[in-house]
Homo-oligomer: 742 residues x 2
C-alpha cells in the first residue's frame, strides 16, 4: 500500500506548505494542514471524461420513476460504487404514481381544434426518438376529469392575477383557465384556480419566458421549441411532499396508503401542461378584455382574458398505480464520530432522459464517490460517517428523499449534522442556499475551488457578480461583509424533508447563470442537448464535485462542527425587520386604499368603455407584539458573539464531544413538533416553501403568511412560537460554548 | 340685437349668482362676476354635432402640406370664419417639402425580399381607398441615397443602445441600422446612427409598442395593422424647426433659401419608415447576438443584433421642391389693451387625412371661434386682441408656426401675453403642459369645465388620477399642493417657436389617456376610424373647446395678467436640485465604474461564450459652482412671494398698464439672444427639446446637457447664464409689484 502523500508532490501542491494557509473553521492548526493536503489530493481526481461517460450511460434512455431503465440505472450505480470498494445498496419504497391513460384537449367553439400534446422527434437527436419509453406530456397528481367550459386566461395564475380579473368583473367560476408557466411553482396554479371556482386548468410555456423570446429554439439553439412541453408534478407540495398516500410515514413496501379520495395533495381539478404551439389557437381565439401590459407574452397575438365564445374540453384519465421506488444509498463509516452523519444527495430520476435535470448533478456525486474511494485506499479516515444518496422519484414530489427521511427520522434527528443537496448543474456562478449556521462554512469552501472560466475562486466570482448586479446595500455587503449571503431554502428539491421536516442543517449548491435553455422536463433534456449547449467540456461538473467534495470532507473531518451563528443571527434579525415592515406596509396599504375609496379615486379614473370596479375596503391591521421576537434576537445575537469568542480561544484538537452533540441540536431547535398552521408536516419555523409560491421561500413562515393573509391572532401566536424556538437555539449555543470552554 | 343675457336663465346658470363664486386671478370681484357669466354662456355653445360635421369636411380627403385639399380646407376655413363675421385670412409662406420619387428597400442576402412600403385599402374604410392623393410612406427630409450594407438592429437607436452594442463588440460602421419607433423622437434615430457611422436607417413600428401587443388591429380594433406605417419628419428639429432652408427667417414667398448642401437639418443618411410586416423578414433573418431582454419586441422571433449574412439595399430619391404653405389667421381685436395679444393655435395639416392628428384639435378651435362670434354679437368685448391660427406644415417640422413667428418676431415679442396650443384630442384626462407662470392660471380654468364621463371637473379627475397613479411625493402633492403640476414643454408641436424662440408664455392642452390607437401618421387616421374608436360622441371635443375658450377669454379679459410666480419658483428650484443630483449621480457613477474596473468585475462576470468588453473608465466630474443659481433662486422666490402678497392686497379694477407691460416681459427675460450652445435658434434657457430626445424636454438645457455630456466648462458658463436670466425675471417681477402697489 502506498503512503498517502507519495504522489502529491508536483506543482500546485508543493507550494502549499510554503504559504501560511488560512485556518479552517472547526480544525486545529495541525488538523487544518492535514485536511488541506487531503483536499488538494481530492480536488485533483474528478475528471471531465469520467463525468461525460457517466452521463452517456445514465441518460441513454428515459429513466423516470417506475421505468425499466430507471431501475437499471439504480442497479448500475450500486454495481459501480461497489466496484470502487464502497458500501452501496438500494433502498426500496412503494409510492403512488399515476400515468395517463387518456389525454384530450380540444377547442369546441367557436372553431374546432385538437391539441397535439406531443413533442416531436428532432432530426439528429436520437434520444428524442425513444418514443416508446417516454412519459407523455402531463402533470402528475392531476385528478381524472372530463370538463368543458369557457376559457379564461389568468396570466401566471397567482392570487394577484385573480384580483386583476375581479377588477374587470371577470370570474373563472365554471371556466377552464389557461395560465403561463412561471411566477410561482406550477402546483400553485390549479390550486388557486380551484379556489376561485375553475373546473380545469391548462398551463403552457409562453415563448417570451421560455422559448424564442430568449434565443434560438432547439435544435438550432438551446431554447424551447413550439411543441416543447414542461411536464411536472402538481401535487400540493406546500401541504406535504413525498408519496401523497403516506403523509408523514415512510412508504416501505406494504405500507397502507390513503384511499385516493382522502389524499389531500391531489389537485381539485384536472390539469394539463401544453406547448405554446398548442396554446396559440386557444389564446388567439379568446375575446374579452385586453390584458394588462405586464401580462403579455411573446405570441404574435393580442392577449385577452376571455371569457367569450371560446369553449374547450379537457379530458384526463390516469392509471393510479403504486410503483417501486429505488433510492441508491452509499455509506462511508466514520471513525471517532461514526454516530454523526454527513449526508449528501442528488436525485437520479428525470422526467424523461433527464441529462441536465438531474444527471448533471448526479455525475458530480459519482465523481466525489470515486475520489473518496481512492482517498480511502490512500489512508484518508473521515471522523464522521458519510452517507450518499441518489434519490428516485424526486420529480413527482421529492418522493425518494421524503420517504427516506420519514422512515429514518429518529436516527437522522439523532445523528445528522448536515444534508448537502445538488440538483442539476450548469455553467457560471456558484449558487449557495441553505441553513444560515452553515453560511460561514460554505463561504470558506467556495474560496478553495477554482472557477474554470476565469481562474478566480468560485467565491470571488460570485462576489464580483454581486458587485456587478447588486446596488446599494447589497453591493456594499458584497464588498465588505465577511461572508457572501446565502439564500434561504424554500422547496423544489430534496433538501426539503431534511431541513423542513427533520430540522437538519442543509445546503443546496449548483453552478448556473450562463447559457440558459428551454428543455426543462421535456424529451430534449438529453445527452445530445447537454453536450451541445450546456457544460460541454464538463469543467463545471468537475468544479461542482470539487466544491461538494471539499464541503463533505470538512464537515466529516472537523474536530468541532463548523457552524457559525453570527451570520445566522444577522440574517434572522433581518427577517424580523421584514415582518415589521410587511405589517407596516399592509397598514399603509389599507389606509391608502380606504382613503382613495373615500376620495372617489377609483370611480374617477375608470374608463367607461372598459370599466374597473373599485377594490374592496381593507381592514386596518392591528399592531402586533414583536417584543418576544426582539428579545429572542437579543439572546441569539449575544449567544452567537460569545460562542465565536470561545471558538477563537479554544484549542480544537481536543474538543469535548459534548460540544458537537449540542451543536447538532441547534438547527433541530428551530423546529416544532406541531409544525406550521394547517401544514404540520412542515416543522421548521424559520424556513418553508410559501403556501402560495410553492418553491419560493417564506422565512419565519408562520408569522409572515399570517400577516400576509390577515390572520392577526395567528400572527401573534406564531411570533411567540418563533421567539421560543430562537430562544431555545440561543440556549443550545450557550450550552455548546460551555462545553467548549470546559 | 338681443341683450346678451336674455336666454341665459335656465337651470345651470341661474344657480351661479346664489353661490359665492371663487375669485378669478387677475379680475376684481365685480369683473370676475361678469366674466363668469360670459364664460357660462360660452360653455353652452360648443356642440358635438358641429364638431362632427367639421371633422367630416376637413378629413374628407388627404390634406397634407402642398396638397389640393389642404388648400381647399384653408379656403373653406376662411370662408366659414368670415361667414361668422370674423376677420379671417390666409397667410402664405413658401417652404422646402421633398416628396418621394423613388423608394426601394430590399434584402439582397441571404435571401431576397422586397419590402411592400404600402398601406393597404381596408374594406369598409372609404378614406383608406383615396390612394391617388395619399402621400407614400416616407420620412420627410431624409436625404437621397442608394446604399447597400449589412443590417444591424439597434433597439430604439438612442445613444445608450449603441453603448450596449459596443459592449458586445458590435459596430454599425458601414451598416444599415433598423430601429424601433419609440424611446426618442424619430429624427434622433438617423442622427445618432450617422454619428456612429451607419450608412442608412430604417425605422419600424414594433407590434409590442404599436400594434397587436396593445389590442386588436385595424379594422377589427383601433391598433396598428401589420402593414401600417408611421410617416414623419426626420429633420434635425432640436437644431431648429421650420423651413430647413430659411433658419431664423420667415419664408415669405420669394425668400432666398439655403442650397440643399448647406441645409443643416437634413439627415446625413437616407431614412425610411416601414411596417412590422415589412420588418419581420429582415429581423428574422438577422444573426449575431441575442438582444438584451429589454430590447425584445412583439414579433414571434428571436430578436438579434446582427450583423451577419443579412444585407439590405435602401434606395431613396426625392423631389426637392418648395411649396406654398397656407396658415389661416383669425383676429378678434381687443378693446382697452389691443396691443396685448392672446394667441391660440392648432395645426390643420395631417400626414394623410389626419382626422385625429390634428383635426380633432382643430374642430375644437372652430367651435371656440363660432362661440366667440356669437358672444361678440351679444356684446362681449375682450380687453386684449385674440389671434387664432390654423397652422399648415406642422407635420414637416412646425413649418407654419415657425415661419409665422420668425416673420412677426418683433411684434410678437412686444405684444404676446400667451400662446395656447392644442394638437389632437382624445378621451380621458386633461393633459396640461406649459410655462410655469401659467400653472395657477390653467389650474383655475380646469376647475371650471365638466368632464363628460364622470361629471367631475376636469381638474378633479386629473387630481384623482394623480393620486391613483402617483406614489410618495407625487401623490402627496396631488392631494395637498395648491395647483396640479404642469409639464414642462419640449417640442413636437407648434408651441415651440412661440415659447422657445420668442419667449412667449405658452400652454399645450389636450385630453387623452383612454382608448389608445395605432393609426398615428397613417392612412387609417381618418373619419371612419375616429368615429368608431375615439371620441365617438365628440363630448371631449366639446370639453376641449370649453377649456381652451375659457382660458382664452380669461387671458383676454383679465385686468391684471393672471401670471403667478410662486409655482414657477417652486418648479425651477426643483430643476436646480435636479442639476445637482445629476452631477452627483455622474460622479457616483464614475467612481463606481472605475472601482469595478479596478476590481476586475467586468472581466469576472463575462460569459466566455458571449463575451462583453468592460466599459471605458470615466473621467471624474469636477464640482461646479451652483452658487449663482442658488442666489438667483433666492431672488426669484422672494420676488414671487412679495408679488403674490401685493396682488392679494391690490384692487384689480384699476390696474396700472405698466404692471401688465412688465409682466409680459417676464417669460421673455428667460431667453437669451445668443440661444443655447450649438443651437442658437433655441433662445429659452429654461425649456428646450433635448438634443438627443427630440420631443422630450430638457429643463435648464444648457447646463443639463453640458453635465450629461461632460462639457464641464460649458456647464459652469451655462449655470451662470441661467442664473442671470432668473435674476432678470426676479427683477421684472419686483418691478411689476412696484407698478401694482403704486
Amino acid at each position: 500500500m502506498k503512503t498517502p502523500l507519495t504522489w502529491l508532490l508536483p506543482a500546485v501542491l508543493v507550494a502549499i506548505p510554503t504559504q501560511d494557509p488560512a485556518p479552517i473553521r472547526g480544525f486545529s492548526t495541525e488538523g487544518a494542514r492535514a485536511q488541506r493536503t487531503w483536499e488538494a489530493r481530492f480536488k485533483s481526481i474528478p475528471s471531465p471524461d469520467s463525468l461525460r461517460s457517466y452521463l452517456r450511460t445514465l441518460a441513454a434512455r428515459p429513466q423516470h420513476l417506475g421505468s425499466p431503465y430507471g431501475k437499471a440505472n439504480a442497479e448500475w450505480l450500486v454495481r459501480t460504487f461497489s466496484s470502487w470498494g464502497l458500501d452501496a445498496r438500494i433502498e426500496t419504497f412503494e409510492v403512488l404514481f399515476p400515468t395517463p391513460k387518456e389525454r384530450v384537449l380540444e377547442m369546441v367553439a367557436p372553431t374546432r381544434f385538437v391539441a397535439k400534446l406531443r413533442e416531436p422527434v428532432v432530426p439528429g437527436d436520437k434520444s428524442s426518438a425513444q418514443t416508446a419509453e417516454q412519459l407523455p406530456t402531463y402533470n402528475a397528481y392531476s385528478i381524472d376529469g372530463d370538463v368543458t367550459g369557457p376559457l379564461v386566461f389568468v396570466n401566471y395564475g397567482v392570487p394577484a392575477d385573480y384580483e386583476e380579473l375581479a377588477r374587470r368583473g371577470i370570474s373563472v367560476k365554471g371556466a377552464i383557465v389557461i395560465a403561463k408557466y412561471g411566477g410561482s411553482w406550477r402546483g400553485i396554479k390549479p390550486k388557486v384556480a380551484a379556489e376561485h371556482g375553475a373546473i380545469g386548468c391548462l398551463i403552457y410555456s409562453d415563448p417570451a419566458d421560455d422559448g424564442y423570446g430568449q434565443g434560438d429554439v432547439y435544435p438550432k439553439g438551446p431554447y424551447r421549441p413550439a411543441d416543447g412541453v414542461q411536464r411536472g408534478s402538481v401535487a400540493d407540495m406546500p401541504l406535504y411532499p413525498g408519496d401523497p398516500g403516506t403523509p408523514g410515514v415512510g412508504a416501505v413496501p406494504g405500507t397502507k396508503a390513503l384511499p385516493l379520495d382522502q389524499t389531500a395533495t391531489l389537485t381539485k381539478i384536472p390539469v394539463l401542461p401544453i406547448s405554446y404551439g398548442d396554446a396559440l389557437p386557444l389564446l388567439s381565439s379568446l375575446d374579452g378584455e385586453v390584458v394588462p401590459p405586464s401580462w403579455r407574452g411573446g405570441l404574435p397575438i393580442t392577449y385577452k382574458t376571455g371569457p367569450g365564445a371560446t369553449r374547450v374540453r379537457l379530458k384526463l384519465a390516469f392509471d393510479w398505480k403504486r410503483v417501486p421506488l429505488y433510492n441508491v444509498m452509499v455509506t462511508i463509516p466514520g471513525t471517532d464520530a461514526a454516530n454523526e452523519w454527513v449526508l449528501r444527495g442528488n436525485h437520479r430520476d428525470g422526467w424523461v432522459n433527464g441529462a441536465e435535470d438531474p444527471l448533471s448533478g448526479l455525475i458530480a456525486e459519482m465523481e466525489e464517490l470515486r475520489a473518496f474511494s481512492i482517498l480511502l485506499k490512500e489512508g484518508w479516515k473521515p471522523r464522521r460517517t458519510i452517507v450518499y444518496a441518489a434519490w428516485d422519484g424526486e420529480e413527482q414530489g421529492l418522493l425518494g428523499s421524503t420517504e427516506y427521511v420519514e422512515t429514518h427520522r429518529d436516527e437522522l434527528v439523532a445523528k445528522a449534522v448536515m444534508y448537502l443537496n445538488t440538483d442539476s448543474n450548469g455553467r457560471g456562478f456558484l449558487g449557495m442556499g441553505g441553513s444560515h449556521l452553515l453560511e460561514r462554512f460554505i463561504n470558506e469552501v467556495a474560496r478553495e475551488v477554482t472557477d474554470p472560466e476565469t481562474g478566480l475562486s468560485v467565491w470571488k466570482r460570485v462576489q464580483l457578480a454581486g458587485i456587478a448586479r447588486g446596488s446599494g446595500r447589497a453591493r456594499a455587503e458584497a464588498r465588505n461583509r465577511a461572508d457572501l449571503r446565502i439564500e434561504a431554502l424554500g422547496s423544489g428539491s430534496d433538501f426539503t424533508p431534511f431541513l423542513q421536516h427533520a430540522g437538519i442543517a442543509s445546503l443546496n449548491l449548483g453552478f448556473g447563470g450562463e447559457s440558459g435553455d428551454g428543455i426543462y422536463h421535456s424529451i430534449y433534456d438529453n445527452f445530445e442537448h447537454f453536450t451541445r449547449f450546456n457544460d460541454t467540456s464538463f469543467v463545471y461538473g468537475r468544479a461542482l464535485a470539487q466544491t461538494v467534495g471539499v464541503a463533505v470532507m470538512r464537515m466529516a473531518g472537523a474536530s468541532l462542527l463548523p457552524y457559525q451563528f453570527g451570520g445566522m443571527a444577522d440574517t434572522y434579525g433581518g427577517y424580523v425587520e421584514e415582518l415589521k415592515t410587511l405589517l407596516a406596509a399592509r397598514r399603509d396599504e389599507a389606509v391608502e386604499r380606504n382613503r382613495q375609496i373615500d376620495e372617489g379615486v377609483f370611480r374617477a379614473v375608470t374608463d367607461p368603455r372598459s370599466p374597473r370596479t373599485a377594490p374592496e375596503r381593507l381592514e386596518l391591521p392591528p399592531h402586533l407584539n414583536f417584543a418576544p421576537l426582539d428579545n429572542a434576537m437579543v439572546a441569539l445575537r449575544t449567544a452567537a458573539d460569545r460562542y465565536d469568542a470561545a471558538v477563537a480561544a479554544a484549542r480544537l484538537d481536543g474538543v469535548a464531544a459534548g460540544a458537537n452533540e449540542t451543536l447538532l441540536r441547534v438547527e433541530r431547535a428551530l423546529t416544532s413538533p406541531e409544525g406550521l398552521p394547517r401544514r404540520p408536516w412542515y416543522r421548521h419555523l424559520i424556513y418553508a416553501p410559501g403556501f402560495y409560491t410553492g418553491y419560493g421561500v417564506k422565512t419565519m413562515p408562520g408569522a409572515r403568511e399570517a400577516i400576509e393573509q390577515g390572520f392577526w391572532d395567528e400572527a401573534d401566536r406564531e411570533i411567540g412560537r418563533i421567539a421560543g424556538r430562537l430562544a431555545a437555539a440561543a440556549g443550545l449555543i450557550d450550552q455548546a460554548r460551555a462545553a467548549l470552554v470546559r
